[in-house]
Amino acid sequence: MPVAETVAQNIREFITANFLYGQERPLKDDDSFLGEGIVDSTGVLQLVSYLEETYGFTVEEEELTPENMDSVGSVTAYVCRKLSATAGGNGGRA
């Protein structure tokens, strides 16, 4: 399975297990976590901890933006950029 697909699946499972509590709600790639009330600000912190533990990079303060963290799609793109940047050895900034 391509990396992006695996990451997206992991993120979706994490969000569903931790914030949707098993609700039968299809989570689309562009559903806004904050806009739709799926994740609150403490939830963002939980998501950050999950990403750092799962993928082994540090999420920098300036990266805590909706552009990087507000949907399955945006988190997946962010993680892929970080993994790619880390592999490229530029210090891990996405």
Binding site: L34, S41, L45, V48, S49, E61, L64, T65, P66, M69
Partner: protein
């Protein structure tokens, strides 16, 4: 004809005499007749909100039916007790000093908080001070993720972003402070058959700036409908000592001084007042921006933050949920 609302900075100006009479009549009815209590207990912090509530209660119930409490702890500013005493003296009401440091040590508040801080700042220990702060949230689109600021005994400052566990650990520990105060307030309420007055203003009540079953707990909340600037107007009318009126708003929860803006609200309270008013009255960010002194994009961000905090605050305000209505109650 346009129905666009007209807004100016005067929009929050109160008829203070009329508003005072309205609140006094309402809380007299609530406490004496609905709650069947004989007076009021108010925990005072030396700040503007609790002072105004104490003055309103003295007007409503008579100064002989009001008790104010000073509940300092190890991290409290000495000003809180000094100004609290000033208030009690000016008002001529009974007051009691109850240092809650012992309760907090008993529930390991400080120990648990320090352990949580050490998980992100390992050197944190004896002689250090700390506070938690938000990043600047109005100049860019970013999430409200807290950092901890620590000051070493030699004065060096350090700021570290909090992990989820550290953040929750610090908040859970420090929330014991507000809950311990409420234990003491209800002790005096039981002793005198009084009701406990809550002191949140509208910003705090709306945005969830309180601890559930801590300062969020009370029998009546006489200024929860008033914007912060309106509380200041009442304070001036009621004759609250000028030093209290001029004291900057502080949480008085952490050992380093912490403003409400850096802990919870993204902009100064006067601007936050107008933003909340604008949000409540469907005033566009473009229309509000010049009035409040912000850029339209910044007002838009504050509006989004108001929505986000309201969503979280619903849990804080929620009464216990029942499976069904209980007959006969």
């Amino acid at each position: 004809m346009s129905s666009t609302p007209v807004i100016s900075r005067d929009v929050l100006k109160l008829d203070v005499e009329r508003e005072t009479e309205r609140i006094v009549a309402t809380i007299r009815e609530q406490v004496f007749h609905q709650l069947k209590r004989k007076g009021a207990v108010i925990g005072v912090s030396g700040g503007i909100d609790s002072s105004v509530v104490a003055y309103l209660c003295a007007r409503a119930f008579g100064k002989d039916r009001v008790v104010v409490l000073f509940t300092p702890e190890a991290d409290s500013s000495p000003d809180s007790l000094r100004l609290g005493r000033m208030l009690a003296e000016a008002l001529g009401v009974r007051s009691f000093l109850e240092d809650i440091s012992g309760i907090l040590k008993g529930v390991r508040c400080y120990e648990r908080r320090d352990a949580a801080i050490r998980s992100v700042v390992p050197e944190y220990g004896e002689g250090y001070k700390s506070k938690i702060v938000l990043p600047n949230l109005i100049d860019s689109d970013r999430y409200a993720v807290f950092s901890i600021v620590v000051q070493s005994p030699t004065g060096e400052m350090k700021k570290v972003r909090l992990s989820l566990d550290a953040y929750l650990g610090i908040v859970a520990a420090t929330n014991c402070k507000q809950r311990a105060r409420k234990v003491i307030e209800y002790h005096y309420a039981d002793l005198y058959q009084y009701a406990v007055a809550g002191t949140p203003n509208r910003l705090e009540y709306d945005q969830g700036f309180f601890v559930k079953n801590g300062d969020g707990s009370a029998d009546f909340k006489p200024i929860a409908h008033l914007y912060k600037s309106q509380v200041y107007q009442l304070a001036a009318y009621l004759g609250v000592p000028e030093e209290i009126q001029g004291r900057p708003s502080t949480t008085d929860t952490y050992s380093l001084e912490q403003s409400q803006e850096e802990f919870y609200f993204a902009v100064p309270l006067q601007q936050m007042d107008l933003c909340l008013y604008g949000k409540n009255h469907d005033i566009s960010n473009e229309e509000l921006a010049p009035i409040v002194g912000l850029e339209p994009k910044q007002v838009q961000r504050v509006y989004a933050m108001i929505d986000g905090k309201r969503a979280v605050a619903r849990y804080l305000r929620s009464a216990p949920l029942l499976v069904e209505e209980i007959e006969g109650l």
